[in-house]
Symmetry: C2
Subunit: 249 residues, 2 copies
């Protein structure tokens, strides 16, 4: 197993540390407070001058910082892998470039079972790809070779399935609060919505007024929405549902 230096101290870094803790010999970070959270568990540094020699430098930094941080790794001999869904492998300025992208939403304080999280890998050499595959398979049953262009699409699909869904939960919760319901009333429905697609195609799972083109109910719903942004979302998604079933007729 490779010796790893982890660069970054945010959510992704914390979750990767949980999964790969045994192999991580050092954590680098510029924010002293965040870095301090790792200091009882491993060696830490706030300067790239003091980075230790490792087989793999894992960058769990923000997308914007990947290029800059990797410039400071331009002379290291180990593999340099970023962990982002939307950044090309070519953004790295190191000698050996790679990507180690865990496809999951990482939130502070959540414990995650890494064994089900897809790890999407990319590397410039077959040798580095094999090293990362072995590392990925040591923590997950789901390891995949995905190139930069495919990864961008996967990240986009993840934005729809995760970020946008979560925003719809937020709108749903605001509506409940306006009428003094407990948002918990909707949780069995939300759980079933997610579970259902395990066994059926979302196209076949669709129900509701937009699919039926039930204009009266949709108008009532629009009248019930006060926030113009929520009205707009209601309109464009309903229209998209309606059209996608119309096309299937």
């Amino acid at each position: 197993m490779p010796k790893i230096v982890l660069l970054g101290t945010g959510n992704v870094a914390h979750h990767l540390f949980q999964a790969l803790g045994n192999q991580i010999i050092q954590v680098y970070g510029r924010n002293a407070e965040n870095l301090n959270k790792f200091s009882s568990k491993t060696d830490t540094t706030s300067s790239t001058k003091f980075l230790r020699k490792a087989d793999l430098y894992l960058l769990a930094v923000s997308d914007d910082a990947i290029s800059d941080v990797s410039k400071q790794l331009s002379t290291v001999d180990g593999i340099v892998a970023h962990t982002s869904g939307s950044v090309s492998i070519l953004a790295l300025k190191s000698k050996r470039k790679a990507v180690f992208y865990p496809l999951q939403t990482f939130t502070e304080g959540r414990k995650l079972d890494f064994s089900n999280i897809p790890i999407c890998l990319e590397a410039e050499s077959e040798e580095d790809y094999r090293t990362l595959t072995e590392l990925g398979e040591s923590i997950s049953k789901s390891v995949h070779r995905i190139n930069s262009s495919q990864r961008k699409t996967l990240h986009l699909a993840a934005v729809f399935a995760n970020n946008f869904n979560n925003h719809l939960f937020q709108i749903s919760k605001e509506l409940c609060e306006k009428e003094n319901f407990d948002f918990n009333l909707l949780k069995p429905l939300i759980q079933e919505t997610a579970n259902k697609i395990d066994v059926m195609n979302p196209v076949d799972a669709q129900t509701g007024p937009a699919k039926r083109n039930d204009i009266q109910t949709m108008q009532q719903h629009l009248d019930g929405l006060e926030n113009p942004r929520h009205k707009k979302i209601y309109q464009v998604i309903s229209e998209s549902i309606r059209k996608s079933y119309e096309e299937k007729l």
Copy 2:
């Protein structure tokens, strides 16, 4: 426990029959093929003339048909309850009007655990409300008094949390298929998105480029979307996410 005549033979009727089978003495439906699916289990009829005398007539028909079907029940002495999220109790033309709305998405062939499904009740008399509460509590731990106006908001919140989310899953799946990924790659993410809101507020669970106002990634995503309806959805939801965090600053 009340004796029930169930009117309707669709998904909701099938699921209610699963839950309330012991009390259902007759099923009414106009579609002979659908009605036939119930005939080995209980008495069935395709004419309202032959409806049996019951304590409760449960209407699991389409929203548009509620008023018409209830007209044919204008002389019965039992409670007449519809099961819709978006129709007022006053749409019923019967003597004793009520609503028995199970807040869940019902899909053919899915087995559901009714014990967690919220049952939203409304009745014109306290006596009928008590009868329906007792019936609801015999199948679910989650029984609630909700008036017609509140129920409309709840249904609207459910459209965001279920119908719209499911459509986003569909878009996400189409994106995966375009690049020949298996949509299954996204399922751990989808599951975590739904699980996370059990322990945290969706506002705090939000991540992604729109929250960070990461214009470069959003522009890349828009360029990656071919379907103009998907572009539009991307834009309006991203804008809504961005604005809702801007307002919190």
